[in-house]
Assembly symmetry: C2
Homo-oligomer: 678 residues x 2
């Protein structure tokens, strides 16, 4: 942490490197102008880091602005996402498609691609969504892992790039940064370089009011190389970035900078925020020696920047040649995986497994079912990269053929993430964003809580990370309420663009995996049991029934008087309640609802077919009621009778069967709920 | 991290310290027996850390087993909560009330207080719930802060104790540990001592497969003193703990141990789990020189342990005398705050504010309303301890009189938590658990995601932490979708034992704060707007209307044809929609629903009075629909018409008013939804 004391001499800096200074000033003044126009945003960080970013783009970053989708480009991650104008300025100046001056002028306005924080998908060159602090650096770890795996597989001629991160003090205070840097240190991700904007300022004031961490010592303790540099000296920056690329470990470069440099708000928390005062802005521009109108970049300067943007064109063209020379098989794999397209035989593989299941009818936990699926999928889908946050044997995420990824084994496809649920989830996102690999990672479902910030980002970005969440209810038993999810299904279901699957047996698990592995713009959460469950789907179905979200598992014998809705382990409870009710002559349909989101996406006709008006409805799920009213009452009709059998509070520590009895999640309770309604 | 290579010589250890060995063996064998009886649990950690724990309890921990509620006791936190049998053994052996041998025998069984992981409230001596890794160490930071504050206020004679933590590798890998130790380092919490169980083993194998962190260097980088000790050498442990208490900084003691010591599973990940094989158990007991039946503790040994339990009785009695000599005012404050009881004048203070508001009718953001409340509450409630995760000016959490807590100012009541939402939330829990203080802390509502694991624990433990969550919807505007909560109301509402308040104006905010400040067993989440809202409650109400959860804000003129339900900033939308509908002759009631939980807790009669059957219902909230069907359709009746106006996906970056229009959360849209239903 730096408590900047002496103010830099801008005139001297400018005189020493006039061309560099002008280029960096373009970033600084575009930032000032855009923030002023928006009347909101963060001016100080782009102003402070403009020198570092200019040197990075001018001399080190491997990119071709005209082809932002070049697979072997360096990845640039702005972890300090509030400084978004730094990124937008660079993309505009170097000539990325779509990032026009009009967009810069519309910074933070409705419909503009220049959102308050960088949003993945808004424009080429935005490699990941950042803003929630620490996410960028943790996501970058996944990108760097993907690069290592791809390099091992396709060779240095095809894959050989770096992942660069600009991180602020906030990123480094967030806990997830600890998980990220420790993982990167262990994995010796030498192509990962973090540029720390060491400006000593946060929103509440000096960093020192809340932190005395020696960041350099901290990174060293985590197995990183550490360099230090004056963040306003382009030669020194250039030398440091050159060194950083040479190391055998990930490198952190501490860049000592002045936030909001050259303004009256320099080195203050005011400088962190939106500088909108016209006087301040014009005085700052004068201090930069900048004499142009707002948003005006002189043509020759723009041309200089565009030349920087074209700097990688040749390398990119050479890469195209090398790629064309790659063997057909490797090329197809490379391109197919980049398109997030599953291999053609996935469908047949899943069907073959289902056919076999209809015969063997295993009684296993769905976490085991998941392993059975992975055992047939991983061998035919070389792009999968698995892992677990220190629960490999519990999450059943490791299959034999994967091999463990590490410093000595770069083509391993399994990662021991350590006890780092959050870091793992962010790394999964980075793997997915880098592309060419399809990541999944496991932990206990209750620890969704730890992984949440990254799971939300996966959904917001629209990327197909797969979260394998086992031990999904009180059914985990003795570990007790801290480990027993109750509200977590509601949490995942409430999250937009997230497919939540809670399969009831191996066939549903296989179908859920098929959907997860073919998803292109939606993350999947597989919610799996610790405890064994019987096979419910006794007949082979060629169709993927889970794709419809819900379906009739068993219809009523006789007049349909009740509909039971259930997911996962409670489908068996519902089936047994159906037996009890049918014995009493109460015709009962059981609807398995492994995915609410996909059911919601069906047309009304199908939904009404599955859940017709008339019969009473009882939902059973070993979780919170939140959301079930939608299916009990929410579709318009004459029905007014429904009930929920599930959890009202937290679980307890005891053997699983006793807990289901204790909390009244039993066939008898479900049958009684039906009788009470009829 | 340690990769233990040489196996310890148990006979030599035993010969060197026979009495110590026997005491520690009691912990080890109780653990083996209880885990075997339960057929689940974690044997290895209590076995490995028994020596350290024995020395801690025998020579250092300030406690009186007969009076676990002694306010000046040391706090002992088992952050590695899976090793719960370590704690239960100690509580049983030293003679804590309630922790009987019967409870030990019933480890992990339904109704036993000996849950799989330590559960706060189950038994005296369990200072906090642990199990989700890292929570214990982060909670302990809050306890240590509380001790410092109380010591400054009441003097060393009344408050002078330590907080001891046993943390495992898992705790130290979790990101929250980084936030915790950095905060503790900055605050120089010298009474906080962490005993790291450095056994080199996790569930997936050796720590080294996932981590190469130099933990000692890491803690030093965070401003801690670091000691290292052989965790099986009682003299060395004693010396280290003695040293640890002398430092001016928090201290981490790296205790090199052998997990599952003396068993054939020693130093392996198998040893981490449940050792239940009878052969292994009897061989291990033989290796310990232990010749007693399962669960049998020889009387003389039990007596030795009980003498340890009584070791602090004298000090406790002397403390009682000193406490009795304390002035009346201080004594009352000390005891009242410990009882979690608000001062009597709180109610009058809130009423006076409400009376004033009915006159001034401010148009402010509810975050500002919250500040207005804190400005009158903090001066009369000296036990409040505020803070923010680097968003002080945005959360409006700091009032003038508080003073900032820090190494130089121990009686400050405001904490700059830094950019550490998770660490802050856990610290709030620790403050509440320690007692004598009433903590609140602020961040943006979207960052509930970061704070979740600790927020859930607050709810599970039943402690009154208050989370001040501002910027509660798309109404925050330009910062965009990463910062705009959508699903977070559903997340908090789905969490059992959590009171979620989303007030619509300053009067409701004052009432919500009154409920938060008088809560004893429930955490509160205050969900507050960034943007201004007009006063809705124009008349002074003596009653706390928020306490009912929902109430009629404006009734229909003429025949009641529609009911609009809303919370927070959308109450104004509903009121304006009501104007539109009334102009059309559609009698419309507006129900403000600041707290679903409290409304749910009302009797059915009241609920039906507020939400009578008959009129169509439209809910409006700038968040996800999840859960609203409960109020639209969930109460039985003949109604079948309802609609929701809110968010269907993520927000966007733009000025707030434009976003409300863009996403169709407007009076016009609400009025249309009503007309469509009628």
């Amino acid at each position: 942490m730096s408590d900047a004391t002496t103010s830099p001499d801008l005139d001297a800096l400018r005189a020493a490197n006039p061309e560099h200074w002008r280029r960096a000033a373009a970033i600084r003044t575009l930032t000032l102008d855009a923030v002023a126009a928006a009347n909101s945003g963060h001016s100080g960080m782009p102003m402070g880091m403009a020198d570092v970013a200019t040197v990075l783009f001018e001399k080190h970053l491997k990119f071709d602005a005209s082809r932002p989708d070049w697979p072997d480009r360096d990845r640039f991650v702005l972890s300090a996402g509030h400084g978004s104008m730094l990124l937008y300025s660079l993309l505009y100046l170097t000539g990325y498609p779509e990032m026009t001056l009009e967009q810069i002028r519309n910074f933070r306005q409705l419909g503009a691609i220049t959102a308050g924080h960088p949003e993945y998908g808004h424009a080429p060159g935005i490699e990941t969504t950042t803003g929630p602090l620490g996410q960028g650096i943790a996501t970058a770890v996944g990108m760097a892992i993907a690069e290592e795996i791809q390099r091992a597989r396709f060779g240095r001629k095809i894959v050989d790039h770096h992942t660069w991160v600009i991180a602020g003090d906030g990123c480094l205070m967030e806990g997830v940064s600890h998980e990220a840097i420790a993982l990167a240190g262990k994995l010796e991700l030498s192509h990962l370089i973090v540029l720390w904007d060491d400006n000593g300022i946060t929103i509440d004031g000096k960093v020192s009011i809340a932190d005395v961490t020696d960041q350099k010592q901290r990174f060293k303790a985590a197995g990183w190389d550490v360099l230090e540099v004056d963040g306003h000296d382009p030669q020194a920056i250039d030398a440091a970035l050159t060194d950083a690329k040479k190391g055998k470990k990930p490198t952190m470069v501490a860049c000592k900078t002045h936030i909001a440099i050259g303004s009256s708000a320099q080195d203050t928390s005011k400088g962190h925020g939106a500088l909108t005062d016209p006087e301040l802005i014009s005085a700052t521009k004068r201090a930069y020696g900048w004499e142009h109108a707002p948003f005006e970049i002189p043509e020759d300067l723009k041309a200089e920047w565009e030349a920087i943007g074209a700097r990688g064109a040749e390398a990119r063209a050479e890469w195209e040649v090398r790629f064309a020379e790659l063997g057909r098989g490797k090329k197809d794999h490379f391109e197919r995986a980049l398109r997030r397209e599953a291999p053609k035989k996935l469908s047949a593989t899943i069907k073959a497994l289902k056919r076999q299941l209809a015969e063997s009818q295993p009684k296993v936990a769905t976490r085991k079912s998941s392993e059975m699926v992975l055992e047939v999928v991983n061998p035919i889908m070389p792009e999968t990269v698995g892992g677990s946050a220190d629960l490999t044997g519990s999450n059943n995420t490791l299959t034999e053929d994967l091999g463990v990824f590490g410093p000595e084994n770069r083509d391993g496809r399994y990662i021991y993430y350590g006890i780092r649920e959050h870091g793992m989830a962010a790394a999964l996102n980075g793997l997915a964003l880098h592309g060419g690999v399809r990541p999944y990672g496991g932990t206990f479902f209750a620890f969704t809580d730890y992984a949440r910030p990254a799971m939300r980002l996966a959904a917001l970005m629209g990327i197909p990370s797969t979260f394998v969440m086992t031990h999904d209810s009180i059914g985990l038993g003795e570990d007790g309420p801290t480990h027993q999810p109750v509200e977590h299904l509601a949490i995942c279901r409430a999250t937009p663009n997230t497919n939540v699957f809670r399969p009831c047996d191996t066939a549903e698990t296989a179908e859920a995996w098929e959907l997860a592995l073919t998803a292109t713009e939606t993350p999947s959460v597989l919610v799996l049991s610790r405890q064994s469950m019987p096979t419910q789907r006794k007949e082979f179905s060629n169709k993927n029934l889970v794709a419809q979200g819900a379906y009739v598992l068993a219809d009523a014998d006789g007049k349909r008087m009740a509909i039971l809705m259930a997911t996962g382990s409670e489908v068996d409870v519902a089936m047994k309640a159906r037996d009890l009710l049918q014995q009493d002559g109460i015709g009962t349909r059981v609807v398995s609802m492994p995915s609410w989101e996909l059911f919601e996406a069906q047309d009304e006709k199908y939904r009404k077919k599955v859940l017709p008006a008339g019969p009473v409805r009882v939902a059973v799920e070993a979780g919170a009621r939140m959301g079930w009213d939608r299916w009990l009452f929410g579709e318009r009709g004459k029905r007014d009778k429904g009930a929920f059998v599930g959890m009202e509070g937290y679980g307890a520590s005891a053997p699983a069967e006793e807990l289901f009895a204790h909390f009244g999640i039993t066939p008898e309770a479900v049958a009684k709920a039906v009788r009470d309604l009829i």
